[in-house]
């Protein structure tokens, strides 16, 4: 579904991604784990078109998307739910969700809202409320709901569990799994390697802009290197 080959991304003089290659197959949950500054968020921003790689190729659903605009990439069904939730705090919950459906022309807004409210009943209760007044967990649900409004074929999630209470973290991961079971492919960036590896099919470990390990999520979770470096055992 997604093939990234040998991309090099720079932030000014900083070489953030070095010759990085990954792929995601239809229906998978793939997770990217790694320390702060390893390049996980940079990779997601490059995939959604916010950053442009200097070299390398990105192919999504048999199309080259490196030179596409962010809008065109969203239209293809690659939707990025950014780090830090980034909800529109000055707008109501429902208006936020409508923004997620900005490019939807064929499908009915009402049906899409119902679908998202079904996944996140809490959002239905608060649909008229300003997004800025929601709790952190609710804002995360809104950010994910907003991304789902755009009918993603591949959903990029950046640190969805960041700063949430343990119980909510469980919820969020359960919902990611449900969304995936319903047919959306997921590329998940997480600090919480333990949880991420539990729901993922495959994983990549990033260090300073390079893939240093990759493989089956279960196998990686059991490997000594991962245990030592990321799971704290």
């Amino acid at each position: 579904m997604l093939t990234v080959q040998g991309i090099n991304v720079y932030y000014g003089a900083i070489h953030a991604l070095k010759d990085l290659s990954i792929h995601v197959k239809q229906g998978e949950i793939v997770t990217l784990i790694g320390a702060n500054g390893a390049g996980k968020s940079t990779l997601l921003k490059t995939l959604s078109g916010l950053l442009k790689p200097k070299t390398g190729s990105i192919e999504f659903l048999d199309k080259w998307i490196v030179n596409q605009t962010v809008q065109a990439i969203v239209k293809e069904g690659l939707i990025h739910c950014p780090e830090g939730r980034r909800v529109f705090a000055n707008m109501s919950v429902e208006e936020n969700l409508e923004m997620g459906a900005y490019l939807q022309v064929g499908s009915s807004l009402a049906a899409d809202l119902e679908r998202v409210y079904h996944i996140f009943p809490r959002l239905l209760e608060r649909k008229k409320q300003q997004a800025g007044t929601l709790s952190g967990g609710e804002q995360q649900m809104l950010a994910m709901g907003r991304a789902l409004m755009g009918h993603p074929k591949l959903l990029l999630l950046d640190e969805p569990s960041m700063g949430l209470a343990p119980l909510l973290v469980q919820d969020i991961f359960r919902i990611i799994k449900e969304v995936n079971d319903a047919g959306t492919t997921v590329l998940l960036v997480e600090q919480n390697a333990h949880q991420a590896l539990r729901i993922a099919d495959r994983a990549y470990v990033l260090e300073t802009g390079r893939v240093v390990l990759e493989g089956d999520a279960k196998e990686l979770a059991d490997s000594d290197e991962i245990q030592m470096a990321y799971l704290g055992h």
Binding site: Q71, H80, F88, M91, E98, M99, G150
Partner: protein, 301 residues
């Protein structure tokens, strides 16, 4: 007391003009964080387009209300196009440069419009045609007098405000404008067309300034290519007073400033009028820099 109310009514009609211009300042600032100093000159252009439209339409023998409406529509439409062109040609190429570069460019565009106006139209003031007969109406049988013009102005302002409110609250473009002004990057990730949204903001702001220009012409009967400077600055003060970036703030700021100015003049200090307006700016910047309706900007940590 009646004298005071009389002046209040006069203040509100001056304030309506400030408010309409201030809306453009505040909306543009909200979306691209630029003080568009050319905005006052778009107001001037709008006024001149209104002048010529009104002249030709009245000469064609149309009834006054139709002349007014058509002049407003023509002036607002052409000025909206001017606003979009200014953004596309002057500001868009600078979107990734420093804010000071864009600000200086805005001042440059302002001079360009002013002196192109002087070149084409000449520096002398031109008379704005009387679109409507000015009748004095006594309010509720009291001795308070309202000009029929003032009633039209207030009506026009209220209708424009309601239309604006509707656009911003309920239309897809309006919602996109709020989303972009809050977080451009997140808006792009939703697939929102940021360029088109910014154009729409310039179009709406410029159209409102043009309406203010026509109203100004009807009130003061005299327009010239440099007429945009002072109302432009006053409207900027009004926008800061209300809280730059806030639409209700621009409205309240404009009306408040107009009222204060008129009351000061009516007390016999008319030469202090402009000074007071800028004193308001200084006081606001000292005591409440975010304005009456502004949000306190939190530093990101």
């Amino acid at each position: 007391m009646e004298y005071f109310i009389q002046q209040l009514i006069n203040g509100i009609s001056v304030g309506s003009i400030y408010a309409l211009i201030a809306l453009g300042y505040t909306m543009v600032y909200g979306i691209i964080k630029l003080i568009n100093f050319a905005h006052g000159d778009v107001f001037m252009v709008g006024s001149f387009i209104g002048l010529y439209s009104a002249k030709y339409l009245a000469a064609a023998g149309l009834p006054p209300v139709v002349v007014l409406l058509l002049s407003l529509i023509i002036s607002m439409t052409i000025s909206a196009c001017l606003g979009i062109s200014i953004e596309r040609l002057a500001y868009k190429p600078l979107r990734k440069s420093t804010r000071i570069a864009a600000l200086i460019t805005a001042i440059g565009v302002s001079f360009l419009l002013e002196y192109t106006g002087v070149l084409i139209l000449g520096p002398q003031a031109k008379g704005f045609p009387d679109i409507m007969d000015k009748k004095q109406v006594h309010l509720f049988g009291s001795s308070i007098q309202v000009e029929s013009n003032q009633i039209m102005i207030l009506l026009t302002t209220i209708i424009l405000m309601l239309v604006l409110q509707y656009i911003v609250r309920y239309t897809k473009t309006g919602k996109a404008m709020r989303a972009v002004s809050f977080d451009v990057e997140a808006a792009r990730l939703m697939g929102i067309n940021v360029d088109r949204t910014i154009s729409a903001t310039f179009a709406i702001g410029s159209a409102l300034a043009a309406a203010a220009g026509v109203i100004f012409g009807m009130t003061y009967n005299s327009v010239d290519p440099l007429m945009g400077v002072m109302p432009g600055l006053k409207a900027f003060v009004a926008a800061v007073l209300g809280g730059i970036g806030s639409i209700p703030g621009a409205l309240v700021g404009g009306l408040l400033l107009g009222t204060v100015e008129t009351e000061i003049s009516s007390l016999g200090f008319s030469s202090w009028r402009d000074g007071v307006a800028f004193a308001v700016l200084i006081l606001i910047l000292i005591f409440r820099p975010s304005g009456l309706f502004g949000k306190n900007v939190r530093e990101k940590v």
